[in-house]
């Protein structure tokens, strides 16, 4: 469990970083928090010829919150975002999701943007970005582009990031209602067998005006389902939960693994959809 040889680069600016990445092309890999990459290197599941360590790049650690939402820089650690009153005040869902990400020591090192680019279908942050319709900003030698979440997560461990591109920040739009994130993992901090992020907006009569969920571990990427219609503009207390749950269950494609059957994941997602929507409506 030692990594194969690679060339190590430690750029100090975005311009320098994208230059190195452009040279490396498909053989380059960005190292930020390293919480997924380093184990993959040690197990020789990844063997990039060039490792581009961006930890010395200036200006990537910012977390800025405004009325529109929260922008998180590529070097902002999970724990920094989790503890940011501004970010979590604007968007409580960030903290609701981050406390489910692994364990504190991993959150101290791992980065939010790194988790998005890694695009694990069981990870919480891609679901948050997808649920809110956020975006990722990618820099390259040719300039910058902003990719919407719907286009960003292209498959398991696959994102729209191209060789030569560096994800410099992500934008999480504000949500004018309540949110919740619930999941069930085998152990505290494990990847969830199923999990649901919910965003719900009630009207003045406390009827559900808008509701959507993003489900993890039940498809190649986070599965976002708009439940506004299924909720039927009713108050939560008199909702037809079977309709709500089946609206989600017909969209997901869970697979079996050693921890859970596909059928259990489908069932569990249904249970968690109801719990998440109720919690988001209460929030």
């Amino acid at each position: 469990m030692k990594p194969p040889p690679f060339d190590y680069h430690a750029p100090v600016s975005v311009a320098e970083a994208v230059e190195v990445l452009a040279e490396a092309g498909a053989h380059g890999k960005v190292l930020a928090g390293g919480q997924s990459l380093i184990p993959m290197l040690n197990m020789r599941l990844a063997a990039p010829a060039h490792l581009v360590d961006i930890n010395r790049v200036a200006g990537l650690g910012e977390i800025s919150a405004g009325p529109d939402g929260v922008r998180v820089g590529a070097l902002a650690r999970h724990s920094q975002v989790e503890r940011s009153p501004d970010a979590c005040g604007t968007l409580p869902l960030l903290r609701q999701a981050l406390k489910l990400v692994a364990h504190p020591v991993i959150r101290n090192r791992g980065t939010v943007v790194g988790s998005l680019v890694h695009a694990d279908p069981s990870a919480e942050l891609p679901a948050v970005l997808a649920l809110l319709g956020g975006s990722v900003r990618l820099a390259s030698r040719g300039g910058e582009r902003e990719v919407a979440a719907a286009d960003f997560f292209t498959g398991p461990l696959e994102s729209a990031t191209r060789p030569g591109e560096l994800a410099v920040s992500a934008f999480f739009p504000a949500w004018p209602g309540g949110t919740a994130f619930v999941e069930v993992a085998r152990r505290h901090g494990d990847f969830a067998m199923a999990g649901v992020a919910a965003a719900v907006r009630l009207d003045d009569d406390l009827r559900v005006a808008e509701a959507r969920v993003a489900c993890i571990s039940v498809g190649p990427a986070p599965v976002v389902v708009d439940l506004t219609a299924a909720c039927g503009n009713r108050p939560v207390a008199s909702m037809d939960w079977r309709a709500v749950v089946s609206a989600v269950q017909e969209r997901i494609e869970p697979e079996a693994d050693i921890h859970a059957t596909a059928e259990y994941r489908r069932h569990l997602t249904g249970v968690l959809v109801e719990r998440a929507v109720r919690a988001a409506a209460d929030a």
């Binding site: 469990m1 030692k2 990594p3 194969p4 040889p5 184990p39 197990m43 020789r44 069930v184 085998r186 152990r187 505290h188 901090g189 494990d190 067998m193 050693i258 921890h259 859970a260 059957t261 059928e263 259990y264 069932h267 569990l268 249970v271 968690l272």
Partner: protein, 795 residues
């Protein structure tokens, strides 16, 4: 300052060192040594048709590449079958490097030596091994079908077959007793594979001294003395020229009692051949696929019982999966077969096991060593009898208990030490009474009703066990008091974090009457003590503890004799307190042990003030006696051995309350209670620590840990991401109570405690889930997904 430390919760003396990063584990040693890495089979069953190293030879930093063809006689032979048994008719062990056929994923094929581990692994990647694929055998039932064979010359893959039968008092066989019983039940139970998973894997570091023609080997082992003998034999080096040292070891749990491992032979062999220091440190993936696993069994049970729930006849057929090889014999299924009986006297018993080969990692003892499976069988049986009769589960157990006045109790079988299965002492009814009180057994039904009304599902379970501990043949202890008053204790068996430095020092301090600060303890270093068996089977405290006590008594006797001479007193009037020998009731007539040590060793040469007092012109010697009296030896030291007539039997009972989520099927342990009896406790705090760690491993076996092999013999979860060991967050607070029923078999009255905690946990949790859910739980571990499956599709 008290010196009566036996029985006190003395804090662990090793912790400051280990917690502060001052421990010296195997990989901390030999920082400049060459590194070894291995090419291991990616296939479960294949014939090697070629090995191409051409590309590998180009790598800078490569030192050597070895295959089986390169090994000399001795090293090239199959590894030893450590514990032969007449029933193991088809024992097979692996070659240190595969000779022609690989029989599990992870079997070593090529050894690479390079300047460091990075380069060694790069070289491994470039070595091409070609294979002809053979059909893999996975799972015990597929194995005994005999459709494909793991070893061509082992029919039906059955390595061993053993039947043990104990007739009822009236002479009836188990089959007859079951047939004649008022009620009978039969069922099947399944237990999955798990593994020891010490935090530190295996490792070996060897230094050949060409000038001295001697070998020093450091190994993360549970038996340095036996590794030493194996290496001397395999490498043809005179025994006095081989030293083996177990440094700080980060856990063993059984896997490191197996020896010599392929790497343990190959690394010293190559170090001598290359005349270079060489080290191999096992990584986690290697540990998963090339060390050892345990637990997996399928059991078919038939039981006959009366209206009170008394077992009249019990018949158990076990299919035991021992993986690809049998280096440790059939100890695990023998323990399952014998310890299955627990604290119960049953009418007639028949147990039959087949121990079978599969193309998976070999199976050798893991903490509990076959007992968790046996206890699972017996305790599930007790619960099923109670359910059938509509009786309280504890009443059925109590109806079957051996009573306190029935010890010694002969179960009529042969135990794992080859000696009769005779329980020495215990008080099972009292343990049960304490446990019921601790967990609130009688109040639970009311709690369950309240919870049910709230839509919650809670359940309670119980499990009882008896554990044979302190197996022989022997251990020894050596104690030396030097002229500075320090006490040096050594014993040959090894330590893997248990706290031996603390408990052995407590014993020595108590026996000798010295402050514990003056006592130092060395274990597992053949330079200090050459005769030992090893640390396993909850035996270290019983075996070495008693040996050290006996050695201390010899030293004490000599100290009193020498001091009596100096004080002109009768030795019978002397005692030792705080390191001073004094006349009872007359503290002024005293002499420090340091001075006694000086007096016990007459010197010609002085090198310090202490020594000057013992030289030949110093004064007071009796000119009519030789300086060392006939029959005496110079120095204040003693050595003794403890060899028990048979094992001593500890016992315990656990109970748990669990909650299952009606919707998600998550399983949460709300309370966990343990009543434990390991005879007299040397250190109750360390006993509790052992119980806590054991219960944590048991929770792993009940709810999380499972080696997931696919049909091709690939281990799907060979990492800590997918092989789930419980975190602290998954372990409940453990409530404990103790009973101390001394063992009559040894001077200290103690019994082993190392494995106890893990043994009944799976059966306890199964019983509690069953009680919460209302349907049988016959397969462990159980996950939320599997519980959900049982809810929607009852078995």
């Amino acid at each position: 300052m008290t010196t009566k430390l036996f029985g006190e919760p003395v804090r662990r003396r090793e912790d400051a060192r280990l917690i502060a990063g001052q421990g010296r584990y195997l990989d901390d040693l030999g920082q400049h040594a060459l590194a070894a890495a291995f090419v291991r089979s990616p296939h479960a069953h294949a014939r090697i048709t070629g090995i191409n190293v051409d590309a590998a030879l180009e790598v800078d930093g490569l030192v050597a590449i070895y295959t089986w063809e390169d090994l000399p006689p001795g090293v090239a032979e199959p590894l030893p079958l450590l514990i032969p048994h007449p029933a193991l008719t088809h024992g097979r062990t692996a070659y240190p490097l595969a000779r022609d056929i690989v029989r599990h994923v992870g079997e070593p094929i090529v050894m690479v030596v390079a300047v460091d581990r990075y380069v060694a692994e790069d070289v491994c990647d470039l070595i091409e091994v070609s294979y002809e694929f053979l059909k893999p055998v996975v799972g015990v039932e597929a194995a005994v079908s005999g459709a494909h064979l793991v070893h061509e010359d082992v029919p039906d893959n059955i390595g061993a077959h053993l039947v043990q039968e104990v007739a009822a008092k009236d002479g009836r066989s188990a089959a007859e007793a079951i047939a004649a019983a008022p009620h009978t039940l039969s069922f099947r139970l399944d237990i999955e594979r798990s593994a020891c998973m010490p935090l530190e894997g295996k490792g070996v570091y060897a230094r050949w001294d060409a000038d001295d023609q001697s070998l020093r080997v450091y190994s993360s082992t549970q038996t340095s003395t036996s590794v030493r003998m194996a290496l001397a034999a395999k490498l043809g080096i005179p025994l006095p020229k081989v030293e083996v040292i177990a440094p700080d070891v980060g856990g063993g749990f059984g896997v490191k009692i197996v020896h010599p491992w392929p790497e343990e032979v190959l690394v010293p062999w190559a170090a001598r051949l290359l005349n270079r220091e060489l080290k191999w440190t096992e990584d986690r993936r290697e540990h998963f696929i090339s060390s050892a696993h345990e637990r997996a069994q399928v059991q078919h049970v038939k039981v006959g019982f009366d209206d009170e729930g008394r077992v009249l006849g019990l018949s158990v057929e076990i299919l035991h999966d021992h993986g690809a090889y049998t280096p440790y014999g059939i100890i695990v299924p023998i323990i399952t077969s014998t310890q299955l009986l627990g604290p119960y006297k049953i009418g007639a018993y028949r147990v039959e096991f087949s121990s079978v080969y599969t193309n998976t990692v070999q199976v050798t003892p893991y903490r509990g060593a076959g007992r968790p499976q046996g206890v699972f069988c017996m305790e599930r049986t007790m619960d099923k009898i109670a359910a059938f009769l509509g009786k309280d589960r504890t009443d059925v157990r109590a109806a079957n208990f051996i009573q306190p006045d029935e010890f010694p109790y002969d179960q009529g079988m042969i135990f794992q030490d080859g000696r009769p299965l005779i329980y020495d002492s215990g008080d099972y009814p009292e343990s049960l009474r304490k446990l019921k009180e601790l967990i609130g057994w009688d109040e639970f039904p009311a709690l369950q009703e309240v919870a049910r009304a709230e839509g919650r599902r809670i359940g309670i379970g119980i499990g009882c066990y008896v554990e044979g501990t302190g197996v022989g043949p022997y251990e020894g202890g050596h104690v030396q008091i030097t002229s500075d008053g320090r006490v040096h204790v050594s014993t040959g068996l090894t330590s893997q974090g248990q706290g031996h430095e603390t408990v052995f020092a407590q014993i020595a301090a108590t026996e000798l009457g010295v402050p514990i600060e003056r006592v130092s303890v060395v274990t597992g270093d053949t330079r200090r003590f050459g005769y030992a068996v090893g640390t396993f089977a909850s035996r270290a405290a019983v075996m070495s503890g008693n040996a050290i006590a006996l050695a201390c008594r010899k030293v004490r006797e000599k100290a009193l004799r020498v001091a009596a001479d100096a004080l002109e007193a009768d030795p019978r009037d002397l005692e030792i307190t705080d390191g001073m020998v004094h006349v009872v009731g007359s503290p002024s007539a005293a002499i420090p042990l340091a001075t006694v040590a000086v007096l016990s060793n007459p010197l010609r040469y002085a090198f310090d003030e202490e020594a000057k007092r013992a030289t030949q012109f110093a004064g007071s010697a009796d000119m009519n006696r030789p300086p060392v009296a006939e029959g005496e030896e110079p120095g204040l030291e003693g050595k003794d051995y403890y060899s028990p007539i048979r094992s001593t039997f500890a016992s315990g009972m656990h109970a748990a309350i669990v909650e299952t989520d009606p919707d998600t099927a998550e399983i949460r342990i709300l309370r966990y209670a343990v009543v434990h009896d390991c005879g007299k406790m040397i250190n109750p705090m360390l006993v509790e620590g052992q119980i806590h760690g054991g219960v944590a491993q048991g929770v792993g076996g009940a709810l999380y840990e499972k080696m997931a092999y696919d049909d091709h013999g690939q281990l799907l979860n060979a990492s800590f991401m997918d092989f789930l060991m419980p975190y602290a967050t998954e372990i409940p607070r453990i409530e404990t109570d103790h009973l101390e029923t001394p063992s009559p078999l040894n001077p200290l009255g103690i019994k082993g405690a190392g494995e106890a905690g893990v043994i009944p946990v799976a059966s306890v949790i199964a019983g509690a889930i069953e009680n919460a859910e209302g349907f049988p739980i016959d397969r462990m571990p159980i996950s939320p997904s599997e519980l959900h499956e049982l809810r929607v599709r009852p078995a």
